[in-house]
Amino acid sequence: MIPGRFTYHRPASVAEAVGLLSSLGEEARPLAGGHSLIPMMKLRMAQPEHLVDLGRIPGLKGIRQDGNDLVIGAMTTQAEIIASPLLGDKAPILIEAAKVIADPQVRYAGTIGGNVANGDPGNDMPGLMLCLDARYSLVGAGGSRQVAARDFYEAAYFTKLETGEILTELRFAVPATGHGWAYEKLKRKIGDYAVAAAAVTLSMSAGKCTAASIALTNVGQTPLLAADAAKALIGSGADAAAIDAAAGAAMAVADPTTDTRGPVEYRRSVLGVMVRRAIDRAKARAR
C-alpha cells in the first residue's frame, strides 16, 4: 500500500515545527513515531499534504526528574520508557503499561507523545496519564500552555490540541514512596488494543487505603477517570467489599461499544475483572 503524495519537512527546532504547522494549517500533520499515522496514510484514511517530521528535533526526547515532577519528552519511545531506570524506580506503572503496548518493533518507534496526543481511545498511555494526573505541554506559534490530561480528551480523536500546536512533554508528580501500582490489560493477541484495561495507583498505611487513583482504557470515546471507584477504596482496607464497590463504580462509568473485541456486556464485565486484578496487585505491591 502506498500513501498519498505529501511534502516532507524536517524542522530542526520546536519553533520551526510550530511555525510550519501553523502556516500550513489543516493540511499538515506532525509526524512522531508514525505508527498510527503511517498505517492510516497507507489506507488513505489520512492524506495530509505536508508532514512535519519531529524526529530530528533535539530536546524532545528524554526522561528526567524536575523537582517533584517526572518529565518525559514527547518523542521518547516506548522502548526508552521500558529501559528507564528512573521510571523503574519512581513510576514503574509506566514500564508495565509500555510492555503491553504493540510489539517490540513498534515500541522502538512509537512515542509516548504520539500515543497521548492522537486521541485514539485504544491507546494505553492516555488512561495512565489520567491515573497519574499528568499535565501536557502544548506549544504553538503564540507560546506554550499546559493542559491537564484529565481535561485533554474530548471525544475519540478530538482533543484540546489545536491546529498548529505540538505536544512537547508530559509531566506528573512523582508517585508517593511505597505506592502500589498495576496496569491490567486484556487483549486478544500481542499488538492488539485492549478489550478493557485499568490503571491503579494506591497507598496503604496501617492496613487502610489512604490514596487511590483509577483510570480506564478503551471502554469509552476517551480514557476515563473512575473517581468513584477510587473513592470506594480510600479509607477502606481495600478488602473484598471495597474492591467489589470499586469494580462496580468503574463498570458504571464505562461506556464500551460492541466491536470485534466483544459485545458491550462482555467488555464491561471484563473491565470489572481488570479493575479487581489491578487493585489486588497494587495492594500487594504497596509498602
Binding site: R5, Y8, H35, P39, A109
Partner: protein, 170 residues
C-alpha cells in the same frame, strides 16, 4: 493536491555500503530497499505493521520497514538480512542455527525473524526462552509453531557466547 511534489535527497548506509538517491517522500523504507537497492530480503507480508516480515535494523533498533518512510532513515545505518553473512559467504550464527534447527519451513518470515533476533541478542545475549518469545512477539510465522525458531535463537546465543566464536567475530 499537486502532482509536482519535489523529490527529496536521501543518503543511507545499508549493509556497510553508502547509497544516495532522490525519492518521493512517500516511499516506504521497504520499497526503497527492495525496488531501489534490489535488496529483496525484507519481505512485504501483511503491509500493516503486524507480521514483522519486513523487519530491518535501523541505527540499532528493529523496525518494521513497511511503516517508516525512507526519508525518515536519511543519514542512518541500516542492516538487512543480506548484510548478515560474512563477505566470504559464511553464514551468521543465527542463519546457521535456523538452518541446523529447522527454524523455518516456507521461509517467508525468516529474514524478519533473524533481523529481530539479531537485535534481541545484541541487547540480551543470553535470553531465556520466555524472553526470546517476548522478543519475537512482533514477528508472525504461520508454519513452524515457533518451537524451532526459539530453539534456533537459543542455539545462536550459545554459539555467539562461546569464546572461540567471539574471537573469530572480532
Amino acid at each position: 493536491m499537486t502532482n509536482e511534489i519535489a523529490k527529496t535527497k536521501l543518503s543511507m548506509t545499508v549493509n556497510g555500503r553508502q547509497y544516495t538517491a532522490e525519492i518521493e517522500p512517500r516511499m516506504l523504507l521497504v520499497h526503497f530497499l527492495r525496488e531501489h537497492l534490489s535488496l529483496t530480503g525484507a519481505h512485504i507480508g501483511c503491509d500493516t505493521s503486524h507480521c514483522g516480515a519486513c523487519t530491518v535494523d535501523l541505527d540499532g533498533r528493529s523496525v518494521k520497514s513497511c511503516t517508516i518512510f525512507a526519508v525518515q532513515a536519511d543519514g542512518s545505518q541500516v542492516t538487512t538480512i543480506e548484510g548478515m553473512a560474512a563477505p566470504d559467504g559464511t553464514l551468521h550464527a543465527l542463519q546457521q542455527a535456523f538452518h541446523e534447527h529447522h527454524g523455518l519451513q516456507c521461509g517467508f518470515c525468516t529474514p524478519g525473524m533473524i533481523m529481530r533476533a539479531h537485535r534481541l541478542l545484541q541487547e540480551n545475549p543470553r535470553p531465556t526462552d520466555e524472553e526470546i518469545r517476548w522478543g519475537i512477539s512482533g514477528n508472525l510465522c504461520r508454519c513452524t509453531g515457533y518451537q524451532n525458531i526459539v530453539k534456533a535463537i537459543r542455539a545462536a546465543a550459545d554459539m555467539l557466547a562461546s569464546p572461540q566464536r567471539k574471537e573469530a567475530a572480532e
